[in-house]
Symmetry: C2
């Protein structure tokens, strides 16, 4: 245990020094580093695949599911996609470049000039589970924004991750940066996570990416800020003034286009005034898309058919399952969403601007939509180019977390000898 | 213990409901509430003074120091000052009003309009020590920005705090808001703090205001974001190209104008090239202002007199004591500040724009200054009108934490039936 602690704590000072070097580097230098990483992923792909083969063999020996093995696998096509992704991040605007970094600039009556300028956060710790592509995706977003990274990947992918981190570190050294701009927790011991959580002297922000258990562990132990990507209990409310065809298209898209993601629809709320008319064709359409429909007593009644009752209103199915509830009105809808939702993504379908404004104002979620699919809560769909996740936190970053959200700020004062009166 | 838990956890749902009511209230309504609080502080001042007399009597019986009793005392003049402060906050611009709340507004190629809009944070927990005026000051800043507050004040001020919170709650009820827009943890048991720290379902942000021990307890236990106001180990670096007179004025101001605050100077770093010329008159001037000067061997040598050696470089003296170190150059200065500083406030005095730019870029503190006193790291001096503290955190809010920093944001999407491809 004390060996483990030493191994992990040694990562801190090196990452801190690397962050200081990154913080004063320019956009061109950082982009050169990213392009060198992309090139090295391609030129060293045989190494990556060999390391990944060890993880896959261990995974098969440990009887990992076919889905897990698929997520673990790196092949030439996937490595090419990773390299392309890195080049895309290199091409994005740098929120820290001279044109964009000054957020405010004002002069006080005493002549003191104050500027609020963007700066990197510092050292970001990312704790994730199986997919090795996160190693590269998350690292390059942090590097682009001048942050050093300490990674803690899943034990299933340890050989792949070691190979990938070595590629990034070697590219960093080649570009004149410290190797420790990216480092990997070298052990897969679970005790590593609480140890990282205690390193607030060196890690400025922790981002856990994984299941609820992982996030809970991090939240319980972390002394530094944590950005959480909790689950999405996303709702669509079909208001009395909804265009039924539009509602149908939005609901099918939100539920079926990719049911396993956090911005997929989980609960459909239908206004009681239209439930009898709206629900029968809607349920038919959902079933035609292989969706299993659950519902409360009022939904069954409106449909004219008994539906299986959902166990609760706070389950994230992440599957072709939809819970339907008939609601009294807009106020009851807001209460339902605020009680059972996860403040992720919620939508209203209506032609009434008054009802829409009320819904958009009262529902406290990272994205609230009027007449559009919940699936739009995504950095790419926002035009952000890339994202490290969708934050369900309310502080620092909320919703799609892209480059700007990986920065902080400081104030700069320029004077001519001002002293305080 | 389980009674205590019940009493404290009961505050959560009520505060959450109150926050929902506040979040949809307008600027005029919130300001009416603030003005009603100011009026009630004046009309009910006899009650406040009677409650405060109990705290003062208990404090004297517990042999509190004269300084602590002074901080605890409320008298007509101090109550008038509190009421004036509330009226000043009411007069400040509301960052959530219609003119200011939309931070970004853009339309995607598919016609989906996206808006990033400011919203309140929700429920803010404030844990503080003796001064009862914090009860009002902190509450009104939170109310102005649409946030509900759960307060946990020091046990010495419990009777005063109860009277003050009752005044705010009654004013809230009179203005049509729930009483629980502000609530006070009703007990002074220390175990209340870890219980509050576990209420992440109801409290969105915790702000501990007090000594290091309190902040440590909160950081260790909190599951929600915490905004810390740690100590200020503030530095001034006198560069080779400094104007010595200006440096002297800035140093005397930063050290002596109010030595007990977080943005006061603690360590003076003098470039070795000028130390022999700069230090003797500077130390003379400091001593004329009753400052005790400590220094390293090089400082003693430059001065031509042995100085007491500081125990370390990371002590916040909060007193008329100054530690002096002679540094090799600007790079060594940055290393010193990054190693021993607290990322609070650091300044360079120089006529060299090149040296200043290097210092301002490399020093990672909430405020870095060129040719001005560290004492300017303050919401009032920034023109923010009011502040809840100076954050030493790097996420969400850094430096003076005023009204804008008490808000979060959400995204609003307005569509015409868009679905994701």
């Amino acid at each position: 245990m004390s060996d483990l602690r030493q191994q992990i704590e040694a990562l801190g000072p090196a990452a801190r020094d690397a962050a200081r070097a990154l913080a004063v580097s320019g956009t061109a230098e950082k982009n050169r580093l990213l392009l060198a990483i992309a090139a090295a992923l391609e030129s060293r792909s045989a190494e990556i695949i060999a390391a990944n083969a060890v993880d896959l063999a261990n995974g098969r020996a440990a009887s990992l599911s076919a889905a897990m093995l698929d997520r673990l696998e790196l092949n030439p096509k996937r490595i090419a996609a990773m390299a392309l992704g890195v080049r895309e991040v290199a091409a994005l605007a740098d929120p820290l470049d001279d044109a964009d970094r000054v957020l405010k600039d004002w002069t006080r009556p005493n002549g003191l000039r104050l500027q609020k300028v963007r700066v990197p956060i510092g050292v970001i710790g990312i704790i994730y589970e199986s997919r090795p592509n996160v190693t590269i995706d998350a690292s390059v977003l942090c590097l682009k924004t001048g942050n050093a990274v300490i990674l803690r990947g899943g034990k299933e992918a340890i050989h792949s991750n070691r190979a990938l981190v070595d590629i990034v570190s070697a590219a960093a050294a080649g570009a004149g940066f410290p190797r420790a701009v990216v480092s990997l927790v070298p052990v897969t011991d679970r005790a590593a996570i609480p140890l990282l959580c205690g390193m607030d002297k060196y890690i400025d922000l922790l981002i856990p990416r994984g299941g609820r258990g992982l996030v809970e562990t991090v939240v319980t132990h972390a002394r530094m800020p944590v950005l959480k990507h909790y689950n999405g209990i996303c709702h669509i409310y079909v208001h009395t003034d909804a265009d039924f065809d539009m509602a149908g298209r939005i609901i099918i898209n939100a539920k079926c286009q990719r049911p396993g993601v956090c911005n997929a629809l989980e609960t459909l709320l239908v206004d009681q005034a239209i439930a009898k008319k709206f629900l029968p064709p809607m349920v038919q359409s959902l079933r035609a898309h292989n969706v299993k429909v659950l519902g409360d007593a009022a939904a069954s009644e409106a449909l004219g058919e008994p539906l299986p009752v959902p166990e609760d209103w706070a389950t994230e199915y992440l599957d072709l399952i939809l819970a339907v509830r008939v609601v009294e009105n807009l106020a009851a809808t807001v209460d339902h969403i605020e009680t059972y939702g996860s403040h992720h993504t919620d939508a209203i379908v209506t032609n009434s601007a008054t009802a829409a404004r009320e819904f958009l104002r009262r529902v406290d979620s990272s994205l609230v939509l009027w007449n559009a699919s919940t699936r739009f809560n995504d950095g790419g769909e926002f035009g952000f180019g890339a994202e490290i996740g969708v934050s369900t936190d309310k502080l620092h970053a909320r919703g799609p977390m892209a480059l700007e959200e990986l920065t902080s700020y400081k104030y700069i004062a320029t004077g001519s000898g001002q002293v305080r009166q």
